[in-house]
């Protein structure tokens, strides 16, 4: 071995980028949170706080809610309809005699269940179809893309209504209602996942590492599962958060139109909103305000998280922390002895990093 060559090598072969943080700091959302600065960080934090409150409320609903979602009376008698907010009913009662505060809190559960079911189903189906379509191409790909386009052209709420009717006719139990909403949302979302995953798969298929696996003799299944799958689904968390907020809106829309879940089966914000329509004109504000507010806040939180993750994933949109030195003082330093200026600059930036 020529020693001269190896010294050049050590000098030239420095790793290109710093190591990516491992462990909990490398987890998707945590990493982006650490990476973000300024307004983007503000948006992400706000979104995460709202989403966090939503999740915690859904999990601890039985502890937080003073009454059941379908409770109409307590030991001291019926609640009474359209009661103003009081110490017994913090946010008043609805026209049907339910406690608004309890319904809003129990509503988070329904919303969360629908999101989880809808997103899980659409991801599994969409990713699978997208992988197959993108990897094998041919007529199957063309058919799937045409079908996806056709579903795209459908108004999503109308489609959701149709699916809802087909699935459970007039029945509206908790499971039936949630599944109807989830499946109708799934049908609308599958094309999105299919398209994203298919496009990524087509791109990745041409990458040298997939060709390299083909040269080695790896089977199609192995290439798809080991090399294409994880690389093609890296952008999914972004669509996922955005779709979660759309899922809530669709659920509320279904409920508002009367295709949702009956109040005896679960609490659902869209349904409550619809029932409070006539209240608004008679000056009863509490029955519509709080379910509406819940929808707005949850959708806002999820959208903020999704949008900021989206921006942070794109190096061109990502704002970066920078040293205290700004281009403005270049004119001044250019008269100074260069070596000195360069050294102080370097120290400054090192310091700011710590």
């Amino acid at each position: 071995m020529a020693t001269a060559a190896s010294t050049v090598e050590t000098a030239a072969d420095v790793p290109a980028a710093g190591r990516r943080p491992r462990g909990w700091r490398g987890l998707p959302v945590v990493r982006q949170l650490r990476q973000s600065v300024g307004l983007q960080r503000g948006m992400l934090v706000a979104g995460l706080v709202l989403t966090g409150i939503f999740l915690l409320t859904a999990i601890f609903a039985p502890l937080l809610a003073p009454y059941e979602y379908n409770q109409l009376r307590d030991p001291s008698g019926p609640f009474g309809a359209q009661q103003e907010p009081s110490s017994a009913h913090w946010l008043g009662t609805t026209v049907g005699g339910y406690d608004v505060f309890s319904r809003v809190i129990w509503g988070t559960r329904t919303a969360l269940l629908v999101i989880v079911a809808a997103v899980l189903m659409s991801i599994v189906i969409g990713v699978l179809l997208g992988l197959v379509a993108g990897y094998f191409g041919g007529w199957l790909d063309r058919v799937l893309v045409v079908v996806a386009d056709a579903i795209y052209a459908f108004p999503s709420l109308l489609l959701a209504i149709v699916v809802g009717i087909v699935l459970n006719g007039g029945e509206s139990s908790l499971r039936g209602g949630i599944m109807a909403a989830a499946i109708s949302i799934t049908v609308v979302f599958v094309p999105q996942y299919l398209r994203v995953v298919r496009a990524e798969t087509v791109r990745i298929k041409a990458e040298a590492y997939v060709e390299s696996a083909r040269v080695i003799g790896a089977s199609h299944w192995r290439i798809m599962s080991r090399h294409v799958f994880r690389n093609a689904t890296r952008t999914l968390p972004l669509i996922l958060t955005l779709n979660a907020s759309e899922a809530i809106l669709t659920l509320a829309g279904l409920g508002f139109l009367g295709f949702g879940i009956e109040p005896t089966a679960a609490a659902e914000w869209g349904y409550d909103l619809q029932k409070s329509l006539s209240d608004v004109t008679s000056g009863i504000w509490w029955t519509s305000l709080f379910p509406g507010l819940a929808i707005v806040l949850v959708v806002l939180g999820l959208t903020l998280v999704g949008e900021s993750l989206n921006d942070l994933a794109d190096p061109r949109l990502r704002t970066r922390r920078r040293g205290p030195a700004t281009p403005a003082d270049v004119a001044e330093t250019s008269v100074m002895p260069g070596a000195y200026a360069a050294d102080t600059l370097y120290v400054d930036q090192k310091g700011s990093e710590l």
Partner: protein
């Protein structure tokens, strides 16, 4: 050129550039001072990441927003009338200076031109932006400048769109665009890297004329020492953001001062270096070797890519015959589009053979079924060109190297294969601990060595190397080539080595085959092909290759001009 020749058109003093990145601020250029005299060619050389492009781009204020520039860049107009400091200029003043005082020629001519406008319009746009010209005058000037850069029929061609020109012509148009306003200095960022050797020689000739006829100074950024020897008057060597040496071109090549410059010059492959080695290898072969069954045998091999709707089929390989015997290294040389990569891919079963016969390990590839070919794959290794994309970014190096072992059942899972993987990493001289790293944590050279480790994992009898070093810096390239040679001698695999670089092929190959437009025009040992080329294309190819020695290159240039006329 009426002014005194000693005047500087660019004077960079204590330039420092830092970039804001995710990993904090990174200094790209530190304390660089440079001067470019009117009418001279200054070459800035260095490996990738040495800051040469950043330095040159800062002359035009063309750095991204994340960059922070310190120091002074004094840019003087060609007539010496005005001098301005680019670092402090406002956006509007910068627009004035760009094009008039300094212009830029980019690396990739196909992306530097806007595909939806005629080239004449694009040249005229720059002229009109600097005012004072009517549409007609601007067009006349565009025609004139196109003629001067050697575009035939400029009156007609001025209305053509970029896709109607070849790569070399496009680069000429980009140069015409730069010359349109008669700037004092042209910054050429790797102007010939994307071009074939024969086209490169023509562009270098044109750049030389820019200096002689237009009187423009040129800042030439390149990593190719042959190009430097061909064109430059003065050379600045950059290393890790600093200038380590500045000298005129003859002094630099004959008596380099800095240790780094010496190593850099020492790593450049030169023609003829491999001859003694080839002869020695040929002598060491056993008696019956020539009669042994070839590992790969092609007879009238034809590969056709089906055309799209209403477009004719594209014939990539037209009736090529060659064979690779066990333990032999065949170098396949040709320019882009000559079909050399297609042949390599066909042998590995990545591209369908459409005509003739191609036998790989005794299996006929014309119409082969994947099931029939699969057992043969075990005996073939492949090294890809681009080290950046040949590894799955989500697998560690050890997992990636273990992949062929797992696929062919030599190990149940990557973990079980780790012992063999460590051996392989050691064989390509990577530390064992690198197995736990991810591809992006390795440099290009390290990744290419890991790629070699993966290719030899199954101890194949045939290795296909598709331009394995063309994405690497010369110093790293030398290391990888040495390693390659060592492994080949130890393991004795036959090899198809594909490259566009004659000097690299000469270094490694027992025999060289020259491809031109899908046809095999010449085949023989390095001595035969490079010493006494028979085919006119080989002769032209050889004469176009710039050698890293200014005096020898001047002689070769005369020879090249003779061949051209």
């Amino acid at each position: 050129m009426t002014t005194t020749p000693a005047r500087d058109v660019v004077d960079i003093e204590n330039l420092s550039v830092t970039f804001a990145t995710d990993a904090g601020d990174v200094a790209a250029v530190q304390d660089v001072s440079l001067a470019v005299t009117a009418g001279e060619v200054l070459a800035i050389v260095g490996e990738s990441g040495s800051g040469k492009t950043v330095t040159a781009r800062s002359i035009l204020g063309l750095l991204p927003e994340t960059a922070l520039t310190r120091g002074a860049i004094m840019l003087t107009s060609k007539d010496g009338g005005s001098t301005s400091d680019v670092v402090t200029l406002s956006r509007r003043d910068l627009g004035q200076v760009r094009g008039r005082d300094a212009a830029m020629v980019f690396q990739e001519p196909s992306t530097a031109l806007n595909p939806v406008f005629p080239v004449g319009w694009q040249i005229a746009e720059g002229l009109r932006a600097h005012g004072g010209l009517s549409k007609k005058e601007a067009r006349a000037k565009a025609v004139d400048v196109l003629r001067r850069v050697g575009i035939p029929d400029p009156e007609v061609r001025v209305d053509h769109y970029p896709h109607q020109f070849s790569g070399g012509q496009k680069q000429r148009i980009v140069i015409a665009q730069a010359l349109a306003l008669d700037p004092g200095v042209i910054i050429a960022d790797e102007p010939t890297t994307a071009l074939d050797v024969t086209v490169q020689a023509e562009i270098l000739d044109l750049l030389r004329r820019c200096r002689d006829e237009f009187g423009a100074a040129i800042v030439l950024i390149t990593h190719n020492m042959g190009v430097v020897a061909d064109l430059a008057d003065r050379v600045a060597v950059m290393y890790q953001g600093r200038i380590v040496e500045q000298a005129d071109v003859r002094t630099l090549f004959s008596a380099p001062q800095d240790e780094y410059t010496r190593q850099l010059l020492g790593s450049v492959p030169r023609l003829g270096e491999g001859r003694a080695r080839t002869a020695e290898r040929a002598a060491a072969r056993p008696a019956g070797w020539a009669a042994a069954t070839p590992v790969v045998e092609a007879r009238d091999l034809r590969i056709v890519y089906p055309g799209r709707l209403r477009q004719p089929d594209f014939v990539a390989v037209k009736g090529v015959s060659f064979s690779i015997r066990p333990g032999e290294v065949l170098g396949l040389v040709g320019e882009s589009g000559s079909g050399k990569t297609t042949i390599g891919r066909a042998i590995a079963g990545l591209t369908k053979v459409t005509g003739g016969s191609l036998q790989v390990h005794g299996v006929e590839m014309n119409g082969v079924k994947e099931r029939r070919f699969r057992p043969v794959r075990e005996r073939i290794g492949f090294v890809f060109q681009d080290p950046a994309s040949s590894f799955n970014p989500l697998l560690t190096i050890a997992d990636a190297v273990a992949e062929p072992l797992v696929v062919h059942g030599r190990a149940k899972n990557p973990h079980e294969a780790r012992g063999r993987v460590d051996e392989l990493l050691e064989a390509v001289q990577l530390p064992k601990s690198f197995g736990d790293r991810f591809p992006h944590e390795l440099s290009g050279g390290q990744r290419q060595r890991a790629s070699l480790a993966r290719a030899i994992a199954l101890d194949p009898e045939l290795l296909i190397a598709d331009e394995p070093t063309s994405a690497l810096d010369v110093s790293v390239q030398k290391r990888v080539l040495e390693l390659f040679d060592e492994l080949q001698r130890e393991l004795g695999f036959a090899c198809l080595f594909i490259s566009h670089d004659l000097a690299v092929v000469d270094l490694l190959a027992d025999r060289i085959a020259v491809l031109y437009k899908g046809e095999l025009v010449e085949e023989g040992t390095g001595e035969q092909v490079l010493g006494a080329p028979q085919h006119p294309y080989t002769q032209r190819l050889l004469a176009s290759l710039p050698v890293p020695d200014p005096d020898a290159q001047a002689l070769r240039r005369t020879e090249w001009n003779r061949l051209r006329s």
